[in-house]
């Protein structure tokens, strides 16, 4: 019973970590994998040391493992990135107001967002064309979408 309570307590602590790092479809699997990891490594838990770092280590290891297997199975990093974007912005290109909103971004952001979201290039292709790193493209894209979101909210489109 005490052990069950311990596992429940651990579950409550690790849920925010998993939610922060993984998309919804992977969260449940990762949570159960993490709990299994905690159970399997329980004999190494030293109560005199910091339990938080012990748990975090297991959870981050499981998160990395989930991401690794996700990328391996999908063989496409972009899918993960695109899925994690807000759906209202993903659908915004149907709206005629988009062109006006895009003009309010700076040239670099507009160009990259157009290529990624409207012209349908992959992140890797955009990186090649603009000679920027993939992570940089993702960051610019992410920031541009945040700006678009704010603009659209200001104009009462969302």
């Amino acid at each position: 019973m005490a052990y069950q309570l311990f596992l429940k307590g651990i579950q409550e602590k690790i849920i925010p970590l998993i939610r922060k790092n993984l998309k919804a479809s992977l969260q449940d699997d990762c949570l159960q994998e993490s709990l299994m990891g905690v159970h399997r490594s329980f004999h190494t838990l030293n109560t005199k040391k910091n339990i938080k770092s012990w748990v975090n280590s297991i959870v981050y290891y499981k998160i990395k493992d989930q991401l690794r297997s996700f990328y391996k199975n999908n063989n496409n990093r972009d899918a993960f990135f695109e899925d994690s974007l807000p759906s209202e912005i993903n659908n915004l290109h149907d709206n005629n107001a988009l062109e006006g909103f895009l003009k309010k971004l700076n040239k670099k952001e507009e160009k990259i967002l157009r290529m990624c979201k409207i012209e349908g290039y992959k992140i890797s292709e955009v990186a090649k064309k603009t000679q920027l790193s993939e992570s940089n493209i993702k960051l610019i894209c992410f920031r541009a979408i945040k700006k678009l979101q704010a603009i659209a909210l200001q104009e009462d489109f969302l």
Binding site: M36, H39, T44, S53
Partner: protein, 206 residues
């Protein structure tokens, strides 16, 4: 399966007994290492001029570095068998520094005796001295829950082969630095690299 059910199921499963502290496990392994050395020396014999290992300053330095590698690598592998400890960056520093210094020492002393000669016997002796300690250390580490499996495998083989290289000083008659580099250091480094592959295969995922 819902998380509640999953937790209930997990709590009904049997749990392993608590493992001993890294220090206790280290001393037990070290004791078995001494027994392995005694058995090896009684089988191979010790060279007559073995005292030179403690008299010549460069050989003495090598001697000290090898002991440091054995202690730091084996202890680190045992510490790493508990989750959370892999966050200590100093662990890598403690192990890799003496290995690096040993390589540098041999490389800079290379010109003193540049002929490596034949050393297949040394390779055999390293394996003879280090196989059982490596198996024992793998078994001890396997009892824990290792996250950095590859690095732990590297540490295990570096520790046991360095122990083999330390014992080899008392059986190998060639103290030339080219020989030490080619037939003592390179096999240890190569087996260490092999250890990172074995670590992934032998040590279970948590």
């Amino acid at each position: 399966m819902k998380n509640e059910e999953f937790i209930q199921k997990l709590s009904q499963e049997p749990r392993k007994n608590k493992i001993e502290s890294s220090r206790k496990r280290f001393f037990k392994w070290f004791l078995s290492l001494i027994f392995c050395f005694l058995a090896g020396f009684s089988f191979l014999g010790i060279r007559e001029e073995w005292r030179i290992v403690f008299k010549d300053p460069q050989l003495l330095m090598q001697n000290i570095l090898l002991i440091l590698i054995v202690i730091s690598a084996s202890f680190s592998a045992l510490v790493l068998s508990s989750p959370g400890s892999e966050r200590k960056k100093s662990l890598k520093f403690f192990v890799l520094t003496p290995v690096f210094l040993w390589g540098v020492l041999l490389l800079f002393s290379f010109h003193q005796s540049p002929i490596a000669g034949n050393g297949y016997g040394c390779l055999q002796d390293i394996l003879l001295f280090s196989t059982i300690p490596a198996i024992l250390l793998f078994l001890v580490v396997k009892k824990g829950a290792t996250i950095l499996r590859s690095f732990s495998g590297f540490l295990i083989l570096i520790a046991s082969t360095s122990a083999g290289a330390w014992a080899l000083q008392f059986t190998c008659h060639n103290d030339g630095f080219a020989h030490l580099l080619v037939w003592h250091f390179i096999p240890v480094a190569t087996l260490g690299a092999l250890g990172s592959f074995l670590g992934k295969k032998i040590l279970r995922k948590i």
